[in-house]
Each structure stands twice: as C-alpha cells, then as structure tokens.
Symmetry: C2
Subunit: 331 residues, 2 copies
Amino acid sequence: MEVITLKDIAKALNLSTSTVSRALRDSYEINEKTKKLVAEYAKKVNFRPNPIALSLKDNKSRAIGVIVPEIANNFFSQAINGIEDEAYSRGYHVVICQSHESLEREKENLRHLFERRVDGILISLSGKTTDIKHILEYSESNFAVVFFDRVPESGGFHKVVADNFSGAFAATEYLIKQGKKRIAHITSPLTLSITKERLEGYKKALEVHGIAIDNELIKYCGFDPEEAKSTINDFMNTQKPDAFFTCSDRLALHCYEAFQNRKDEMPVDTPFFGFTNLNVSHLFHPKLSTVVQPAYEMGGRAAKILLDQLESKRKVKDFDKIVLETYLKIS
Amino acid sequence: MEVITLKDIAKALNLSTSTVSRALRDSYEINEKTKKLVAEYAKKVNFRPNPIALSLKDNKSRAIGVIVPEIANNFFSQAINGIEDEAYSRGYHVVICQSHESLEREKENLRHLFERRVDGILISLSGKTTDIKHILEYSESNFAVVFFDRVPESGGFHKVVADNFSGAFAATEYLIKQGKKRIAHITSPLTLSITKERLEGYKKALEVHGIAIDNELIKYCGFDPEEAKSTINDFMNTQKPDAFFTCSDRLALHCYEAFQNRKDEMPVDTPFFGFTNLNVSHLFHPKLSTVVQPAYEMGGRAAKILLDQLESKRKVKDFDKIVLETYLKIS
DNA sequence: TTAATTTATGCAATCGTTTTCAGGATTTTT
DNA sequence: AAAAATCCTGAAAACGATTGCATAAATTAA
C-alpha cells in the first residue's frame, strides 16, 4: 500500500497540483473531462489526502480528547464507545486520557491534549477536582469543552448528565416498596455533582413515603477501599440497615469486598443497590441491583454537541444541559 | 492560553525563525547569549512546537493505533493502560479502535488508522480473523505492526503473549489436586492461537496426572451466548462434569448466565475456572477462580517493542516473541 | 478582424517547523 | 595588510494540501 500525494497525481497526469486538488473537490472551474480523468486515477492509486497536511493548513487537528477517571470501568468504557462511534463517523479521532481520580493527572492530561492540538475535549471530572480553574485557562483559546457525567456546578458549559435525582429516587423507592425502612446510603465526597443529586433523590423518596431521614444512615466515602471497609463494619455493628444503596461502581465493589472480609455474611434479605453500569452485577453474590445510566448514549450525545460546536461558525452563546433517563436493573 | 509559534518569537526578539529554531534545539552554531535569550523568552511565553507541523516535516505522526476486540473487557482495558503509559511517556499518542470480533470492522479499523497516518499499530486479532492478508497489505509501507494476546501463527512479526499453555496447565492441575477428575473445558474457536495453546495445557495436565482425555468434555463455543447456553445444558444433562474450565472472559460470563437460567443451581462444589482478567470474579456466585494474564505489562511491552522499532534506524530482521507468565487467582 | 468574455489551468503563498546553503562579520594566520 | 578560518545568522526550500490571483486559450460579440 503506497502513499500517494497530490503531486504524484499531478506528475502522472501532467497537471498542476492545484488543478488536481480542485478537480478532486469538484470545483466548477475544472473541465468535466479533467475531473473525470483525475477522479479515476485518484481512485486507481487509492489517493487519500494527508490529514496532517490538512490539519496544518486549517489549524485543526480533527482530533478530540477525552479525559475520564478510568477506562477499566464499564460506565466509562461504554461512554467511550458512544464517543468513538460518533467521532469516527464524522472523521474525527479520539485521544483518551485517564485522570485516575487525581487532580494532578487531570491537569497533565489537559496539557498533553492541548499541546497535541486537539480541537476540543470531553471530560468527566476526577473525584478530587473541586474547581475548574485549570480548565478555564484553556477554554478561552477556541478550545471547546463539553462535560459529561461528573460536571461542574458553574454554568457556561455544555453538559450531558444522567438524571441522578430520579435514578436515586427510583432505587430508593423500589427498596421502600420491598418493605425496607432503614436504607443506608453510602456515597462519594460531596464535591461531586452526582453525589448531591443522588443524595437528594434518596432523601426525597424517603420523604415522599413518610420515612424520616436518619443521618446516621448516610455515609460519605472517599477513594480508599479501607474507608468503605470501616463504613460497612460500622453499619453492621451498630445501625444494621435493612438495605444498602451506594452511589457508584467503585463504592459498590468496595462494600462487597468489605462484606467478604467479615465473618458474618451479608444477609441475603438485605438488598443491595448500586449506581453502576457493571455488566456482571447479576452474577454477584448477594445479588446487586443497579441504577443503570445510558452511558453509550451519554458519550455519543456529548461528542455530538462538541463536534457540532466545532463545526459551527458562530460562537455558541447558550449552553445545553442534557439530562438522560436512567433505568433500574433488578437482579 | 495563547498559541505561540516560532515566528512570533522571532519577531519579538528580532531574529529569524531559523535562528530561533536552532537556538531552541541547542545547535552549536548559535551564540550562547542568543540561546539563553531565546530559551528564556520561549519559556516565558510557554512555547511548544506545533506537533502537526513536525509531523508533516518528518512524515511521522507520532501516533500509534491499537485494535482490540472490545474495550469494555478488563483484559483489554488493562492492556490499554499499559500501552498508554508507555506511549505517552515517550511522546506518542494512542488511537484506539474496536473490532467487535468482526473481521470487517478489523479491516475498517486498519484502513482508518492507515489513512490517519499512524506510525504503527498494536493489534489483538478478532475472533473471526483466520488469516492476516489484510494486515500484510499494510505492513510493507514502513507501517510497523506488533501483535499481542491473539496473534497469528505465521512468523515475521513481533508478538507479545501470555504463557497460555502453562496457565491452562496450572489451572487444570489445581482442579485435579482438588480431587476433580471430570473437568470440562469450554473453549473458543480453534482459529485463535490462544485456543490451541490453552487446550494443550489442559490436556497435558490431565496426561501428567494420569487422567484420560475425554473429548466429550471439550466443547468449542463461538461468540453467541446461545451457544454457551446449550453447551452448559448439554453438559449438565449428560456429562455432569465435576469442574469447569473456560477459555475466556466472554465464555465464563456466558456460562454463568446459562447457569442462572437453569432451575438447578450450579453445584457449589463444582469449581469454575476462567481464563480472564475480570477484576470482580471473587464477588461472583459461585466463586469464579481465574487464570490472570499480566495485561498491563503485556500492553506496555508490546508498545515498547513497537516504539523501539519505530525509533531505530535499521530495519529489524529478527522478530521477538515475548511470553509472559500468568498466575492463578483462587476465589 | 478585433475586442470582450468565458473557460481552464498554473503559479505562488500559506500553515509551522527544520535544515541546507550562502554570506557577512569577526578573528586568526601568514 | 591580505588571506584564511571561524563564527553567527538569515534566506529559502521542503513536507502536502488549499486557494487567491494571474493568464493563456477558446469562444462569443461587435
């Protein structure tokens, strides 16, 4: 497979590169016969314009960056699928970076992507990110940014999120309808937007069903597995909840592990709910039910907004916030 | 964050772009004073050479492509982590494509990456790929290829694989030492290199321990979950093995699902082994033990070989085949 | 037949960087 | 003091594509 340039074609057909270029782009200035000649030859030798040359010319890389906490997480890998399908179908490629829940890594990722001259980025914030100064720095220089899933509170950006409130409400309500009254909620640090929204959904469901909110049943857990372990131990030694509802993939897994470490097995009649996209939750013991987010769609929508923005001439002035529905997967 | 070019620096300091370029690359031709002046100014305005311009000049994109069957699979996402760490630390970026176990998609991925002018690719073959003609087409035009995990039989390529034989041997031996004698092996199509190697390990362990090989206990399963289902049903209705050993992530999951669909639960004293990197296998019911591959390392090594090759002047003549050890994770 | 118009093509600049070549200025050698 | 060597710098070409401008050739109008 040989790499062919415009110049090669021009030489072969005894034309100038400009004529060849125009012929291929079907310019009105070029004779039909010439066009056909060029088109046929180009096809024969399998000509493809060098995307790097085009990038240099247009000052556009036709690449977008994605920053997620972790690829090895079903939610994010599904979201990435959505992003890639949208991007590839529109001729963009995708550079993926992981923040590993670290603000420092997130900053490095941004710098790397910026230096690589990506046209814009999609980002789901790290768990340690409390403000977005580092992102604002870049977002001036016509460097478009769209947030998804874990988004900042401040306005002025496009965002795509799940309906965290309703998802948490539905899960909590489901547990209540199963007759549960002491539902523990184990959640992430309050710095994350999703934490607050899910907590509100949980509280609202209790309220609607006339169950008093017991703050002892709500625990915040950072990223250290040990935290989850001691939280679970506390719960089992004191509160003995009759159901669990955790806020994330990671927390659900840490809690399951904490249970495995205890002598007394997790009671089978204590249902466990997670806000996760784990595609194997139904194989867990005890069963793990989940609030599932439309991760693929979320990625695709976020990518679409970004690319639309990149390709539109006028500067956007109003910013979309798209909220996608979740659904329950009962195991 | 402003984007600065050589020309900007040249204008500001009243020098020519060539002098600035040379100063920054510490050329012996440039006066020390000038060098210092330029270096300081460049640092102040945060100059970064435009990678796209460099790519065009060098005819190198400093990007590598990765083709895997599926990102949403722990083995591959861990391998990608290894690839990205190696690549980013050496100033390359990574374009990820998924073949979704389809030969057609794999061909499209190749075409896409080639047109994108990546300098080389890392590939783990799709389950439908039986020959590598489509890859050979490209591998001429100084387009380096390194295979990992699922590699072709033919020589003439760099390869990084797990010691599939030993892994399968160890798992089978473990089951035998647990007193199991009728160990079912459910495996992928024989077109995949890993299938054969793992099957050989399984057979060898039986042989070493004086257990006759029963071909009725060996079943090949494609990618359709229904196949796994009927395989499991067949086994449970007739052979009733006293242990299971599956060849892949996917097969292990399909089998677990098949068991869930049956009335009679999977007997708890029938141990189940998978050749997978599932990081939640210990939370399954019944327990899933696994042969774990060093996925991160595999990705990293493969990337290193590829990048070393890209950066070496002389053409490689002998091709490495690196075999990495697996380990058992008993749940 | 000559001028005006249309048609078809090529030249050259551009994007940002590197690098070859050339040359001016300064210093050293004779 | 002239020739040679050394040092520093800049102009220009190259990478591959696009595009404004110029112009030659063909056609039409007068």
